[in-house]
């Protein structure tokens, strides 16, 4: 008998029929003798409906009141799922974030969990009940309702699993696991049975949007056994996210090919190659609340260097405007930029101990005539920026070059 925390997203609970299906799945786990805690999101579309309603009143809704408002979405789902469980004879009880007591800081709309009171949930589990908890929400120490920000239900699931020392946290979603790359681009893409925490972090941040990054970080910090499964399949093992390289297993060198078409690149040309220049350029960008992803600076010549970075496309024009006075100030030669780029990454913890990954990647792209505009590497990934139009081609040839289309 194990203690399982299951999290179902908005699509999985998007209609009364789907909620009934979730109840049946929970009942099957319960029938096997497991204790089950279920975390649910708002029904798909509901959060957007509430936000739209708020914006009819205030263009920039007050954050405290916004949280009072949108937290009702999950509150409706916990009631409906508890009813669905009771209807099929499974004892169950719903909890809002405040009722559990999921204590957070008071940063409305993006609060962080400080602690979780497991007392009431333990009592219900002991009494044989399924505990149904509203994801995405909590309360601050003054009793104000807070939310964790969009997608925060994953974080609630992992945090509850950590607090209850659950045997496994299962994230049910509309995909049945983590793939070697996007199956819409490469039909041969395979589901990974396991992926390490670090690989998952890279896959998520690079655009394989299966899990919220924060929930994965949280799982890593508290060593929560995390599994991604499909809520639309009866059976299936999904993908298990592990936190250590499994030394007994013949681990593939490369786990997957990630890609991202949300970014724009900016290069400041011919800036003086002296200490402090990176700060002079990126300081104003940070002050304007623009997140920077890749940063590349090569060795300079004749006291000058080029400084490149990428930002989200939504921030592209804003970043260019912020840089205008900076150009003046740093006496840079000019700016070269573009938002028709893609970032493609080869990810795998195995590459730590294998040479030649980068060269295989560069050769494969060169053979297809794809020019590499920027390169950035970490312990477990190599990322390149290329022209956006080559995205699918690059992903396909890399997927094949690293043997990802062959059974593990």
């Amino acid at each position: 008998m194990a203690l399982i925390v299951q999290k179902y997203g908005g699509t999985s609970v998007g209609s009364p029929e789907r909620i009934k299906n979730v109840a049946k799945r929970v009942a099957r786990w319960k029938a096997k003798g497991h204790d089950v805690v279920v975390v649910v999101s708002a029904m798909s579309g509901e959060t957007n409906r509430l936000i739209a309603l708020a914006k009819e009143i205030q263009a920039q809704p007050d954050p405290r009141e916004m949280d009072v408002m949108v937290s009702t979405g999950e509150q409706v789902t916990i009631a409906l799922l508890s009813m669905a469980l009771l209807e099929i004879g499974v004892s169950a009880r719903s909890y809002t974030g405040g009722q559990v007591r999921i204590l957070t800081d008071n940063a409305y709309t993006k609060a962080r969990i400080l602690s979780i009171d497991e007392h009431n949930m333990r009592a219900d589990l002991k009494a044989g009940r399924v505990v149904v908890v509203a994801g995405f929400q909590g309360v601050d120490d003054a009793g104000n309702i807070t939310t964790l920000g969009r997608g925060g239900s994953d974080t609630t699931g992992v945090a509850l699993a950590a607090a209850l020392k659950a045997d496994e946290c299962q994230i049910y979603t509309d995909v049945d696991g983590v793939y070697t790359t996007d199956p819409r681009i490469v039909p041969e893409a395979r589901r990974l049975k396991t992926v390490t925490f670090e690989e998952m972090l890279e896959m998520a941040s690079l655009g394989s949007k299966v899990l919220q990054i924060r929930s994965v970080e949280f799982a890593g910090k508290y060593k929560v056994r995390l599994r991604v499964l499909s809520s639309f399949e009866e059976e299936g093992e999904g993908t298990l996210i592990t936190f250590e390289e499994d030394k007994d297993m013949e681990k593939a060198v490369i786990s997957g090919i990630a890609f991202n078409r949300d970014e724009a690149k900016i290069t400041v040309l011919g800036v003086p190659d002296r200490p402090g220049i990176a700060y002079q350029i990126l300081g104003p960008i940070g002050d304007a609340n623009i997140d920077v992803d890749m940063i590349v600076q090569n060795v300079g010549h004749d006291g000058l260097t080029d400084f490149s970075f990428t930002v989200h496309r939504n921030d592209y024009q804003k970043a260019l405007n912020v840089l205008k006075p900076v150009l003046e100030h740093t006496k840079a030669r000019g700016i070269q930029s573009g938002d028709k780029i893609a970032k493609v990454s080869v990810v795998g913890v195995g590459m730590r101990s294998h040479a030649g990954i980068a060269s295989t990647m560069f050769r494969t792209l060169a053979e297809e005539g794809i020019n590499i505009e920027m390169i950035s590497t970490s312990e477990i990934k190599v990322s390149v920026v290329i022209d956006e139009k080559y995205t699918e081609l690059a992903v396909r040839v890399l997927h094949k070059a690293f043997g990802l289309d062959q059974a593990a």
Copy 2:
């Protein structure tokens, strides 16, 4: 400077535009220097939407989970109204029932208020904020969400006014006060400037559905000054509900004509006129959870009497079925019944000290050829049961006979 509690119903907050209008009205009271606590219902239609959703899952939704669900309706409104107030520069903060702490018993879907913690509201009022409270809801002492039953927002308003010792509780609705009768039937019907608590009780229970009965009882118990106003008129004094006969004022004998077409009458004919017979008939009715309104029994002849009562039309068939074995048992001669009846009542505290009210009523009806089927009287009302088809005629002629169409 006064402390005012204002309550706005579902129609008054039925759209973002209407919520903005409520905010403007609250702002005007605030601008006059008053402290304002606002109680709101769910937006019109929302509670029904939520109930329908629950019924797709469970034909008889679990009461605890039902309360978790429907309480979200008011939670959305408090957030929206607070946003609307902030948007026009009025400092405001929302409270759910649990956040105030409106403590109730744990009778889900029809809970009763036990106590109200005024601490946080006082602090906000002192800080110059408008306090916006979700009507209809509370928490039990274990932190479970409860609701007061439909229309319970009026009760929340009155209870808050009692707890805060407010100078006045204003119930904003879609009518601008209490009328001498329904203006749709008698165009000459006048708005009453004042009505006593007891008259209001009779008017409400007799079908002039302006206020929830429970809230009026509550106001009476705690001597809350209660006023009914229209939320769709800029100005207007509405109707003040008073709790003592005002001796300085020339009080009209009759305040209004109430009527009700929701009842059915049942007469058990020729039952033995002996002690316990009323219980033998009404005991099984009560056991079947059927509410009885009027009960009439006249003196008997030859050891037999007729026993009549009225029930809600929805319970008519059920009541007849319950009575079948009773007929057998009591050796009654038979049953005479019908659901095409109306109850028409003349209401007024003034009739306590005036003779002849009943005779004026009976004469007026007789002149129009309207037969009276049952009569029941109390200190401040005379009610008759007549054929439903004469309802409008009876109300019109009685309104005129008692001079209600003339300016007070």
